[in-house]
């Protein structure tokens, strides 16, 4: 069988978890084996029951007094118990922070290798994977030499499955956990400060790079973002200069975004920046260099000094909205 680690946050299954379930379903189908899932914590019981609709035959619901919120080492311990008991061909997780964290713990506990951020998995001996490096700017073809393939799948490599009318058997079990397994768990949560439109949800992002020149320079970008109901993004040059908070950084080590419209002002288009925004629906560039690398990833461009162009664009937008 194939075991999927279905992450939920206080009962809510994420879209990415459903994508991992779909990857698991495809692997199970190819190998002709059933699909199982692990859901951790009593808070996940409704989520567990809903997985049948996505092709899961059996859900293992790990319940334990200590499992009240996300606890990565304990989740991995529960998964390791299933690996030992059920000998799956593969364990599939989400290639996000939590998914890769739990898989790393599982790899450490079982002394198995892990292939993180896969875009393709072909089970076998060895298992062949393709995985994303450099934020997707390089694909690595690799072999996983292990009796159980531990893999995470890169977000959005597949769509979540369409729910059908399948019903999963939910089997509760109480994993054997030591105090050390429960040491790391969520102790508190803080709400987003500042409010405003979050970068990942914004439909429009007005983003600035070194060419903006200063913190004050972002005033123009804020004005345009305000008119378009958008959020501000930035390159790493901008965040490491302290012109904007790092939370606004787009790219390989920042946030990955995919808005309807991305306006890149004074950004050259380094591969690490592209890693975070190249999948935006429409990209408009404002840059004084007609040969900047970002030109071969953009749809439209205005060539020239952004300090002269942006005020004119703001003016024209305001007129159009009036």
């Amino acid at each position: 069988m194939i075991l999927v680690l279905a992450d939920h946050d206080r009962g809510e299954l994420s879209e990415l978890s459903l994508q991992a379930v779909e990857q698991g379903r495809q692997l199970a189908q190819t190998s002709g084996v059933p699909l199982h899932a692990l859901v951790v914590g009593t808070g996940g019981s409704a989520a567990a029951a809903s997985l049948g609709a996505y092709g899961v035959a059996t859900v293992h619901l790990a319940v334990h007094d200590g499992l009240t919120d996300y606890a990565p080492a304990a989740s991995a311990r529960a998964a390791a118990e299933l690996v030992a008991r059920l000998a799956p061909l593969a364990v599939v997780g989400v290639g996000d922070q939590r998914g890769n964290e739990v898989l790393a713990h599982l790899g450490a506990i079982t002394e198995l290798p892990v292939a993180a951020d896969c875009t393709s998995v072909v089970l076998g001996d060895p298992t062949a994977v393709v995985r994303a490096r450099w934020g997707g700017n390089l694909a690595e073809h690799a072999l996983l030499h292990a009796p159980v393939a531990l893999v995470s799948v890169v977000p959005h490599a597949v769509r979540a499955g369409v729910p059908g009318n399948g019903v999963a058997a939910v089997e509760e079990f109480t994993p054997e956990l030591a105090d050390a397994d429960l040491l790391v768990h969520v102790v508190d949560r803080t709400a987003e400060v500042g409010g405003g439109i979050s970068l990942t949800e914004a439909k429009v992002i007005v983003s600035g790079g070194r060419g903006v020149g200063s913190a004050e320079g972002f005033g123009m970008l804020e004005e345009l973002a305000g008119l378009l109901g958008g959020a501000i993004g930035a390159s790493r040059v901008v965040t490491s200069a302290g012109w904007r908070p790092q939370a606004e950084q787009v790219g390989q080590t920042g946030t990955k975004v995919s808005p309807d419209l991305y306006i890149a002002c004074g950004i050259s288009g380094a591969s690490q920046h592209l890693a975070g925004m190249a999948s935006s629906k429409t990209i408009i560039v404002i840059n004084n260099d007609a040969d900047a690398p970002i030109m071969s990833h953009a749809d439209y461009a205005v060539i020239g000094d952004l300090h002269k162009i942006l005020p004119a664009v703001i003016e024209a937008t305001r007129a159009a909205l009036a």
């Binding site: 890769n100 964290e101 790393a104 713990h105 790899g107 450490a108 290798p113 892990v114 292939a115 993180a116 951020d117 490096r133 450099w134 700017n137 390089l138 694909a139 690595e140 073809h141 072999l143 996983l144 292990a146 790391v184 768990h185 969520v186 102790v187 949560r189 803080t190 709400a191 987003e192 439909k203 008119l227 378009l228 790493r236 965040t239 490491s240 790092q246 939370a247 950084q249 080590t253 920042g254 419209l261 050259s268 591969s271 190249a278 990209i283 007609a290 690398p293 071969s296 990833h297 749809d299 461009a301 205005v302 060539i303 020239g304 000094d305 002269k308 162009i309 664009v313 024209a316 159009a320």
Partner: protein
Amino acid sequence: MEVLVCIKRVPLSGGRFVLTDDSTEIDTKRLGFTVSPHEETAVEVAVRLIEAHGGSSTVLTLGVPESEEQMREAMAIGIDRGILLETDGAEWDGQATAAAIADAVRADGTAFDLILFGNESADAAGSQVGVRVAHLLGRPVLTGLKGLSVADGRLRGERPIAGGREVFEVPLPAVASVKDGVAIPRYPSVPGRIRAKKKPIERSTPARPPSRLEKVSFTLPAETGKRATVLGNGPEAADAVVDVFRKIGAI
């Protein structure tokens, strides 16, 4: 307190990578080298913790002898000494890397209160090493931190989650992996660079076990073949920009 920070030398290329003829490596002939912003942040965090709490800091890397360059950069902003685990340039998978680091920590003998990593390396990005080192040394580990503080023998870490942040707290000694943004790395000063040259680096050459995640080859993503339509030069193009806004329904 004693802090260890682990970094990795990687090629620096803002553009499309060029591969070697057999497609097994990035062609680095024309490239400089750096470390991930996550690791630059980890180094800055280590230096700040020592400034605040006293003690000393150590930088460790597993890599080619030239990785000394990245270690000296870390020393230039305040790290005290280095441990360089030399390799011949062949790739080590996450499991092997973690084992070598855990062995080096034991051999060094320093009672590190905190071992810092970047959340994932810039190149291989396996998201494995910090967690595996923590298991090998029997310590708790927090990963992906965007906020970190140490007080009263405890490590508090925060990381983003939809709608806010989740908070973790563990006793020291611990392991943590951090992300770009926890602290803005400072620039090294000239005296800092001079001092860095004299700081000690201990070298050893661990043996590489067979890869269990074995890299076979690389491929580049397809060229986009895209070329932006130039709407115009300078402010005169503003109306054409607004036309695009209209066309895609942004206004």
